[in-house]
């Protein structure tokens, strides 16, 4: 195991709406080691993005509020008991970079790429001249494989294609030499051949800068190709975690199993029916203290409805964690 880069413990985030409280993140703990690719997998509304936004302290307050959680990044305490400790402006964008799904909305449409580079770099490096920042930006664009970097610096975001825009955002992270890149659905808006290029680029940068990457995605194929470890989220909780091999070849939680059965596989017998997970994810405003997956679970026992929500516990000794009552006995052994 490598050096611990990011450690997040007992994170709870809720959104207080009129008449209801949406418990978006319910006691999530996870960590990222240096030089590691970690994937957070789940369906829409499972809290995977909110978790990452909370790490960056980008949750809009109100309505959102971080209720509890201790987050440490490379020895710096970011959050203690849900309260911000460090000056996030020193960390955000500089040491931890975030890449969003829709690259058009994360770039300012009325400024040239180059000027946005200058702003970002000068915000993080006091005393850097505009000229230096511009040159550094052009170098970063070149590094992420954008041809004619100097020319592109003078372009507006709308003049670039989706793949190019995503590369620009990666270039921001490269220019700041971020230690951790959080990529929230980085390739969902891109075509598959471009998706492959962007992901390869991220992996190259990870290798070159010795950084770590968190990929938030619903694409299990992407996870299988790139991730070292996986966290599976459902209804604001982590239901299973482990290495990619453990999760993808030997899933334990009924939700993970269901998810893997629901995806059409290219090598499977075509005539075999897909097995969907019946029903829909629960509303995060109407959760009780039982297992959130219970209404959709195909493997539930008679005793499940009477038990409290299962907690994430290690299954075996190799770091494979699962939160399900089915494994209560085996874990106790």
């Amino acid at each position: 195991m490598g050096e611990r880069l990011l450690d997040c413990k007992n994170l709870k985030v809720s959104f207080f709406m009129t008449g209801s409280t949406v418990q978006a993140v319910r006691d999530v703990s996870f960590h990222v080691d240096r030089n590691e690719v970690v994937a957070v997998v789940g369906e829409s509304g499972c809290g995977k993005s909110v978790t990452q936004m909370s790490i960056m302290q980008l949750i809009q307050t109100p309505p959102g509020k971080i209720l509890s959680g201790d987050v440490t990044f490379d020895g710096i305490e970011l959050l203690r008991g849900g309260k911000p400790i460090a000056d996030m402006n020193q960390v955000r964008g500089n040491r931890i970079a975030m890449i969003f799904q829709e690259p058009m909305t994360s770039l300012n449409p009325v400024f040239k790429i180059g000027n946005q580079f200058v702003d970002v770099l000068r915000a993080h490096n006091k005393g850097m001249s505009k000229k230096e920042a511009w040159a550094l930006g052009a170098k970063a664009l070149d590094e992420v494989g954008i041809p004619d970097a100097e020319l592109r610096m003078r372009n507006y975001p709308f003049e670039l294609s989706g793949g190019m825009r995503q590369r620009v955002l990666i270039a921001f992270a490269v220019a700041c030499q971020a230690d951790l890149i959080i990529a929230d659905e980085p390739t969902t808006a891109l075509d598959v051949t471009v998706q492959a290029q962007v992901m390869e680029l991220l992996m190259d940068i990870k290798k070159k800068n010795n950084s770590s990457i968190v990929i938030v995605t619903h694409n299990l194929g992407l996870v299988s190709r790139y991730a070292d470890r996986i966290y599976v989220m459902y209804a604001g909780q982590i239901v299973e975690s482990g290495t990619s091999e453990q999760i993808l070849t030997d899933p334990k939680h009924p939700y993970t199993k269901g998810l893997l059965n629901a995806v059409p596989q290219i090598q499977a017998d075509k005539k075999s029916d897909l097995v969907p997970i019946e029903g829909a994810p629960p509303s995060l405003a109407k959760l009780d203290d039982r297992c959130a997956f219970l209404p959709r679970c195909a493997m539930k026992c008679d005793s499940c409805p009477s038990k409290a929500s299962p907690v994430l516990r290690e299954y075996g000794t190799d770091g494979h964690m699962v939160a399900c009552h089915l494994f209560d006995e085996e874990v106790a052994k």
């Binding site: 829409s44 290029q197 992407l222 059409p264």
Partner: protein, 334 residues
């Protein structure tokens, strides 16, 4: 089983003019679809696959006459749909329906699910009592796996999967023979995606529907389609049985597309070979000369830049649009 194709598309072309200024001076043409031909038998599913901008959606819309085509023929039961007069077309257009990608954008937010379906149902002009209408709409709701009470809800009160079911029920209200599914599952979560795919397959078995399934997800298309067309920049580059798509791809673009898609199977993913494509899809405004794929093709030769290849139908079930595919596949099999 009849072997007559229910839909036959011949050399379909959709070109959009590019104009500039107040005088609308013609400055160029976007060849969105440029000579596409395929046919589908009754009760079968044909998949049209490609990346964004390859013309797959436009092909679907041109069959429905939702965009005007610039050339070619679309036969529905051996009648040319594109050449029909408006009134003739009105008679048959209920027989070809469409399901859209974004189920929220394609449903009227001010109408309940019931009235969305009812509106389409009564548009055929047949006389019905209101009890008959209610009965028929409720039957449709049940057929797509919703309860009758769901009819009272408005689109914003439904989940993505439920909205897509309403979209399907609305298409079925016309008693169609052909449904063009334009990316019907790509906006849905994986667990819901499987529900909709299974529903579409069930309806096909029960009602004998024919699908033209437009999508970019190859695994989904392989699962649902019998036959697949791979499109690139307005042309079909390869057609094959869907079983052969992953086992016997011949065109270099198909190969690259398949290798670009990460597969879920962990061990397979770690061992399989990958071809990485350089660059992005060129704009259809400045189509490359010769073979449209040659600037990105790892195997391109001089001839590819000069001449456009034609469909090689040596194997009538598996035509390929490439000069050198035979040599390529010899090399790789050795």
């Amino acid at each position: 089983m009849k072997n007559d194709p229910i839909i036959k598309v011949e050399n379909l072309k959709v070109h959009f003019g590019l104009t500039k200024g107040i005088a609308k001076k013609r400055i160029g043409t976007v060849k969105a679809v440029d000579g596409v031909s395929f046919s589908v038998e009754r009760g079968k599913t044909i998949g049209i696959v490609g990346e964004s901008g390859c013309g797959k959606t436009t092909t679907g819309k041109a069959i429905l006459r939702m965009v005007s085509s610039s050339g070619g023929k679309v036969y529905f039961h051996n009648q040319d749909v594109l050449a029909m007069k408006r009134k003739e077309h009105d008679k048959i257009k209920r027989k070809i329906q469409m399901i859209f990608q974004d189920p929220y954008g394609s449903l009227d937010p001010r109408q309940s699910a019931f009235s969305i379906i009812k509106e389409v149902l009564v548009a055929d002009g047949k006389k019905r009592t209101s009890e008959e209408i209610t009965k028929e709409v409720n039957e449709l709701l049940v057929m797509v796996g919703l309860s009758e009470e769901m009819g009272e809800r408005f689109p914003h009160e439904l989940s993505g999967g439920q909205r897509q079911r309403i979209g399907i029920a609305r298409a079925l209200a016309c008693h169609p023979e052909v449904i063009i599914c334009d990316e019907p599952v790509s906006a849905l979560d994986v667990s819901i995606q499987a529900q909709i795919i299974n529903l579409l397959e069930k309806l096909q078995r029960e009602l004998g529907l024919t699908y033209i399934f437009v999508a970019h997800d190859l695994a989904v298309v392989r699962h649902i389609a019998d036959y697949v067309c791979i499109m690139y920049l307005g042309n079909i580059v390869e057609m094959m049985d869907s079983d052969e798509m992953f086992t016997k791809p011949l065109h270099p673009y198909t190969k690259a597309l398949i290798s670009a898609i990460p597969v879920v199977d962990y061990h397979l993913e770690k061992t399989r070979k990958r071809i990485e494509l350089e660059g992005e899809i060129p704009s259809p405004i400045n189509r490359p000369t010769g073979c449209p794929f040659h600037p990105r093709c790892p195997y391109a030769k001089d001839k590819c830049a000069k001449e456009a290849p034609v469909m090689d139908t040596t194997d009538p079930n598996h035509p390929v649009c490439c000069f050198y595919y035979k040599d390529l596949n010899k090399e790789t099999s050795n």
